[in-house]
Symmetry: C3
Subunit: 305 residues, 3 copies
């Protein structure tokens, strides 16, 4: 599977939760340049009214696909202290990068018990966001890099745009740190072109029961439990599609699906995404075959659902 | 107190959170068959638009009664693993039942440290829900069975329908696993026939200060705290009614009341329900006298409030 | 800085979460008596429709200021047990006061391991709220008392009313115990005179990086993370104002800002407030200079934003 160039572009953009403006700008530019070549040119909603989120409406939607644009990372406190943003893997020596009013920053993460520090020789402005230094590694079987969660969720969402006739494709913010954009995006969607079902395009974990190269994961549950009727329908359609699929049953973890579950609308939802090794580290690793299955399953489901 | 036959019927239906369709179907049939004999025939709202919830509107409501229809249980993972749904008591050897595409399942719960397994000889489909095998025991003083939480909350709600003139009676889903139906039910109620107060018909715990046969429990607080003014009014009315009542003050636990508290409406709420021993086990045990008090207090309050 | 008399008045009112009616009544009376002398007389919204909250609308609002009126405390259980309301400091021997149907209560907090008791010789009615005995200490540098959190957040909000031309000033309830009033206040605000930004007038903590007399705190994050663009703008305006400001970066703690973050509106928010020592104890201590900076910064920002 050849990886589109745009995936490498978005892997190089930093977007720690709360500071998604650069990647949002990239998405808006990408959509603006490409949309006239797509099967259907979507209506594009973005700007301050939507904070840094972007909504693309194609035709008459029945389903929305949500992909979050933020990543985990760190925020600089004082006296060299760091506070995590979301749940990054805490490995001493991991290289972190960022930028403040004094210039570019490249330093190492220092873990001492429960406390986190950076080793940058000068003071860093309070509130500066740091994230893993990027190192993209692609071979014939795998892609390995930082931020695969959730650049590889954005990727199928953007590929889907090329052929989508009816549906919403929505790029969200804040997901890694408790959420907060879904609650205002959903009312806008329901007022503009309402849906009954939501698919969460995000990356999950390799587990005892989920392995590389075995197919895209359909999650029956994580910490939260979607309605059985809808999950059964997704599984049935996936089987009809003959696209390889793995079923996950987890007790932990959450996604933008959580905020669909607790929204003021009777919406069904399902998390569908490739599984990765080395979660929330600079070495997240995903099978290209699984990613390809993910792209194909989204295309199939948006037609079939 | 003679137990109505319909209580035994609903005690025999499985409805682990997210899979409430069978009990919902039962409620719709029950209501359809009986409603013309009730004092007021309610407007019935149900179907896909409401997922598996059911709303009954009687007259001009001031108050809504909420009773959840789901129960705790387990979900099958892989390699014989189980993941809890809600917070079931974890006792090795407890008998579990369910059904998958290969047929009926009856097995035992195996607890090994933090991990849960089943001992069923064949593989069970991923995502299959299991719940406690039912064993209903009734004597002159007590009812003991699985699923009393919340079949005994549904029971007073259904009895109330026989005489109710003004009010909503609402059957909800997902409550045992974080909720998610209240947020879409409340806007529907507020748009259709708005209320200012909500009563939660659910089952609580025997504690140091709450005992069998001493009356239905009015909860002053659990993990969450309803507004004092409303609780004071409930307590005053309960005293006027001369129905035996026990006041609970807890630091833990939640109910559908939580989602009323955090809803976009200024609604008062109160949890009112009998207390049980052996919570979330196959041996939940409730005093028939307390249950009778519960039935009577709901009837009294829906008139008086 | 001379402290207005009204601060002492509100410090003497008890208002444990869920029982805010007395302080709410005080605010309504205060506003009613003073508003004709203010630059702009606000529209006042209060009463049962808003539970015990109060909303003041001045002119054409762009920004809302939220100050919670409740305090932490304790609730009486049974057998002399107490359950915390919010997160009070648990120091054996602390003097607690309250009132039930039998009369006034003054007793001591008894801490035994994880369990809390009172030592009042007679039985106290279940559900009675107790809070720290008040002891107000003011010198030239500091104010020290119980309930500074959040009487010192109400104080700048009320001072602001004297000069405010455009904005909402809103007094909220339940904040110390998980919230629940913001979700119904925000829709009312957005329907009546919508805003794009919210400031949280509340009290924070002295930490390694935040000290007395160094300025009012602008919080870049607590447990939750507001949008960077908005925080950057606040910091820039604070610098222009030349009012001393300290920037906080915390991993813990929450405020009414949490419910703005998770609201169904794309609202930016920022917590701005003086820092205190001895948090949630009877000895909360705040620099008068920091409080003065807080008053001035709110006045400046409500014009500039």
């Amino acid at each position: 599977m050849p990886i589109s160039d745009f995936l490498k572009e978005i892997l190089l953009i930093q977007s720690v939760s709360g500071d998604e403006s650069l990647v949002a700008e990239w998405v808006v530019n990408y959509v603006t340049q490409r949309k006239s070549n797509w099967k259907v040119a979507p209506e594009v909603y973005h700007g301050e009214e939507f904070h840094d989120c972007i909504l693309l409406r194609f035709g008459n939607p029945r389903t929305a696909v949500f992909a979050h644009m933020d990543t985990i990372g760190f925020m600089v406190r004082y006296a060299n202290q760091l506070v995590p943003v979301g749940g990054p893997e805490l490995i001493s020596g991991t290289r972190l990068v960022g930028k403040d009013c004094f210039g570019e920053i490249s330093c190492k993460l220092v873990v001492e018990g429960d406390e986190l520090f950076h080793d940058f020789p000068r003071k860093i402005e309070r509130g500066t966001r740091l994230s893993f230094e990027q190192d993209i590694r692609v071979d014939s079987e795998f892609i390995q890099a930082a931020y695969l969660d959730n650049r590889l969720g954005m990727y199928p969402a953007l590929k889907l745009c090329e052929t989508l006739e009816d549906g919403w494709v929505v790029f969200t913010t804040y997901e890694e740190h408790g959420g907060g954009s879904m609650p205002f995006l959903l009312p806008f969607i329901q007022k503009t072109a309402p849906i009954k079902q939501a698919l969460i395009s995000d990356i999950t974990w390799i587990t005892d029961g989920v392995h590389h190269h075995q197919g895209v994961v359909v999650s029956i549950r994580d910490k939260f439990i979607p309605r059985k009727k809808f999950i059964d329908r997704i599984i049935q359609l996936a089987q009809q599609s003959e696209i390889p699929v793995q079923l996950e049953v987890e007790g932990y973890g959450g996604s933008d699906g959580r905020e669909v579950q607790f929204s003021p609308y009777a919406l069904d939802w399902c998390f569908i995404g490739a599984a990765e090794d080395h979660v929330h580290s600079p070495d997240e690793k995903v099978s290209l075959k699984d990613l390809d299955n993910m792209v194909n399953l989204y295309e199939y489901l948006l037609k079939a659902l």
